[in-house]
């Protein structure tokens, strides 16, 4: 009913990111290399016919010199990382660290990626979750569907949200533990199917390849372990769909990637500020918060109130009808502030 500029901008960015992450490889038409080994992780499987499975281009890899762009070696459907080897940034930090733990790659190879990850987190905090995350975009479509169906959203108590956060820590810890265990010499002979344990059950595994018209390995029941992971993945997908359908962004409390992003949230460059004397305690900020956070409403002093749960969607800033009560800043410079919608 009103012009919602931030929502419009955010949706545009979300769709752009979805397109770029899923079809970026096609768009940039870069060469890439893969082998049949890709079926280790079914979501990574490239479409038939597009990638030569036997031939590879010798000598095209120049590492770490700068002439390989971010999106080089980018197979479609591979949303979890922009560049599997050597590129600048791997989108999914959980995937990236798990993989490095499994292969016992030298710590030094981690450093550039970690630095970039930290830099992005330091600048934007959890901005990724609401503005770029492709499965979040998919989830938002589910939320839109619910709104069209006139079904009210569920509100969850703070205890439930904290529980999800603890669950997120558990998932992250378990995932890294298993990944590291595979790599320990003489300890266990894990099969390769065990590796990237979180990625195997991540909803992106089943969702994202659909956009790339790739068979996502929906029924990977070859061995006991793959069967287990497939069943788990379906379960998690069910939770994901339910969470987005009824609970808006309640899923994001459980997502371990978001968790790792959120560690930098309180000190992030994107800051949300509140001038509490202008606040009339109407609660719209909490009502509109997709994460269901209440701190911003409860806060009684002025200042920055980035919380670890906040995904920087700026919905609160947008909806607040009080002129100048809430504002989004970037390193102290005001970007947008709340006002009555024209």
């Amino acid at each position: 009913m009103n012009k919602r500029r931030i929502t419009f901008l955010r949706r545009t960015v979300q769709i752009l990111c979805l397109v770029m992450l899923v079809y970026g490889g096609y768009i940039f038409k870069v060469k890439h290399h893969t082998t049949q080994q890709a079926n280790l992780f079914p979501a990574l499987k490239a479409p038939e016919g597009y990638i030569s499975t036997t031939k590879f281009d010798r000598g095209s890899i120049l590492w770490p010199s700068g002439d390989n762009p971010v999106l080089e070696n980018y197979p479609p459907g591979l949303v979890c990382r922009f560049n599997p080897r050597g590129g600048l940034f791997k989108a999914c930090i959980v995937h990236f660290i798990s993989e490095n733990l499994t292969w016992r790659t030298s710590f030094k190879y981690l450093l550039p990626h970690l630095t970039l990850f930290m830099l992005l987190c330091f600048l934007f905090g959890r901005l990724w979750c609401r503005w770029a995350c492709p499965i979040g975009t998919v989830g938002d479509f589910l939320t839109m569907l619910r709104k069209k169906m006139n079904i009210p959203s569920r509100k969850f108590p703070a205890g439930f949200r904290n529980g999800l956060r603890s669950g997120s820590y558990c998932i992250l810890g378990t995932s890294f533990f298993i990944s590291a265990l595979i790599g320990v010499p003489h300890l266990a002979r894990f099969q390769c199917y065990w590796f990237l344990p979180y990625c195997q059950i991540c909803p992106a595994r089943l969702i994202c390849p659909i956009f790339g018209l790739i068979k996502p390995g929906w029924k990977d029941f070859e061995t006991a372990i793959t069967t287990m992971f497939t069943i788990l993945a379906w379960l998690v997908l069910g939770i994901f769909v339910a969470a987005f359908y009824w609970g808006r962004r309640i899923w994001c409390h459980l997502c371990p990637v978001g968790l790792m992003n959120s560690w930098f949230n309180r000190g992030a460059g994107v800051e949300l500020k509140k001038i509490s004397v202008k606040c009339n305690k109407c609660g719209l900020c909490t009502e509109a918060c997709p994460m269901g956070l209440t701190e911003m409403f409860e806060k009684k002093t002025d200042g920055v109130f980035n919380q670890s749960g906040c995904i920087m969607c700026l919905r609160c800033v947008e909806i607040c009808p009080r002129d100048g009560c809430l504002s989004a800043n970037f390193f102290g410079r005001k970007i947008v502030e709340s006002r009555l919608k024209k």
Binding site: T35, L44, Y109, T115, M118, L119
Partner: protein, 179 residues
Amino acid sequence: MKNIIFTILVSLFLLCANAEENRFVIEFEYPQFKGDFYVSGRVSFPPGAVLSDKNFSVHDSLTQEEIPVMVEISEKWPDGSILDASVHFAANSSRRKDYVLSYGEGVNRSRSFTQVSTLPIVTASIGNSPRTEESLDMEVGQLIVKVDRSVDFRYYWYLLPMFGLLFLAVCRARRNSKS
């Protein structure tokens, strides 16, 4: 605070778990006859470990003398790093030696050969990695783990901005929580 401790623990964990392994002992049985022969072995690498065929070499384990090697790459990882390669080098059965294959970024082979004579071939096992059509069991348990002590500034300078960012983030977080 909880988050910061957790971050530090994870970082330590990553540091400990990521000890570098860059040497294989090449195991083969010396033949009964006396004279020259070729040792030939197939070796698999984790993704990202070896980028070019220049990046591994074979040494005499005692004298550290480099042995000329011929390398044939048979398969690569999706990122272009070497998955699987065959290594050939010449040996002599009169002088028994242990051979070590080093690989990694820091290694740059200077001696190689390409001409293949008709010497007998002894198959060696380097890094035990049986593989089938669909799977690759990489027996990382067979690797000899050694830490490369050579500091590679090309990577480690990243620690500087990392800690800088961490410091800034913590400072800002504390300032924000105070206000």
